[in-house]
Assembly symmetry: C2
Homo-oligomer: 188 residues x 2
């Protein structure tokens, strides 16, 4: 009986991600979202609830997208250190705008407990990933055993946040790569 949703939910979220990634939560207006998605204002509220709910769904979409990239790297690489290096590589959007989740941390984590919990869960899952990679590298001898896999994982996550912030200010790709080199040299 009902008329059905005409737009593709994933496409809309992708456009919302782009917008929030570029401007952040507070500087993005509902009008911006209407313009960028091509959806009607009412349709956005019908389908996504509110600006805040759309933002949170955008965070999830961004995370899912990042996970997909990581999975792709995991399949094609056997060397853990090289896998970590690929994770540190920056997408064009991240180069200009930083990491959406890192930006969200600085903008929202101290204001919104739900978002802080989401970000903490992301921190945990990323660290779990790094623990596995580091442990595997330590087992095969390509990563040293000076620190525990857990210590290195916590370090890697934090270093990753750093390069996503500083990267916004860096114009030269070689500066970026040199910093990542030094970051990963701890593991060698």
């Amino acid at each position: 009986m009902p008329r059905v949703e005409i737009f593709n939910r994933e496409d809309v979220l992708e456009k919302a991600v782009k917008l929030f990634h570029n401007k952040g939560y507070n500087a993005t207006s509902m009008q911006d979202l209407v313009d960028a998605t091509g959806l009607n204002r009412s349709s956005i509220y019908n389908s996504f609830g509110s600006k805040m709910e759309l933002y949170q769904q955008s965070l999830r979409a961004y995370k899912a997208q990042a996970n997909k990239y990581v999975q792709k790297v995991l399949v094609h690489n056997s060397d853990p250190l090289e896998t970590i290096r690929k994770i540190f590589a920056t997408s064009p959007d991240d180069k200009v705008n930083g990491c959406l989740l890192g930006n969200c941390t600085t903008e929202m984590a101290n204001q919104d407990i739900d978002i802080k919990n989401f970000l903490t869960n992301n921190l945990i899952s990323m660290q779990d990933l790094f623990v596995e990679l580091v442990a595997s590298g330590q087992a095969s001898g390509s990563i040293n055993g000076n620190k525990s896999a857990k210590d290195y994982a916590a370090y890697l996550f934090t270093a990753l946040q750093g390069i996503r912030v500083t990267g916004i200010l860096l114009d030269e790709q070689k500066d970026f790569e040199s910093i990542v080199d030094t970051m990963l040299s701890v593991l060698e």
Copy 2:
């Protein structure tokens, strides 16, 4: 002849810094600033120009405050590595809110060219400081020579950004310290 400014400019800026540090630029309203500073709306505009100008002056005040702390550490410490460790230590405000300049980077650098330039200058001056400290540590043998002082300086600045972001999410001081330990272990 004229009536003179009754408020202390530094005190007002300190309060503005606290506010921008806690909420960021876009989420801070002029009403918030009026409430927090106790100044009249007109007085703020008379004395600071606009919200954006007040923000930029707050960034400068924050940087000056940080420089003052660094100078104090430099006077009381002779060991470069220990000095760097003290710079990595976090003030209570930074613990909850991150680094104001880092937050500014993620919120504004890709939107406002003047602010980006200011942040780039800060990056350069911080790296210069780290270059001196690392070079001095390398000269005295407490820091290794695996990489150049410049490479280590760029790394340290970026690592610092990272711990200021992740620190927002960390509840345990020991997690924080462990990450800094790993970060600085590259130099040893």
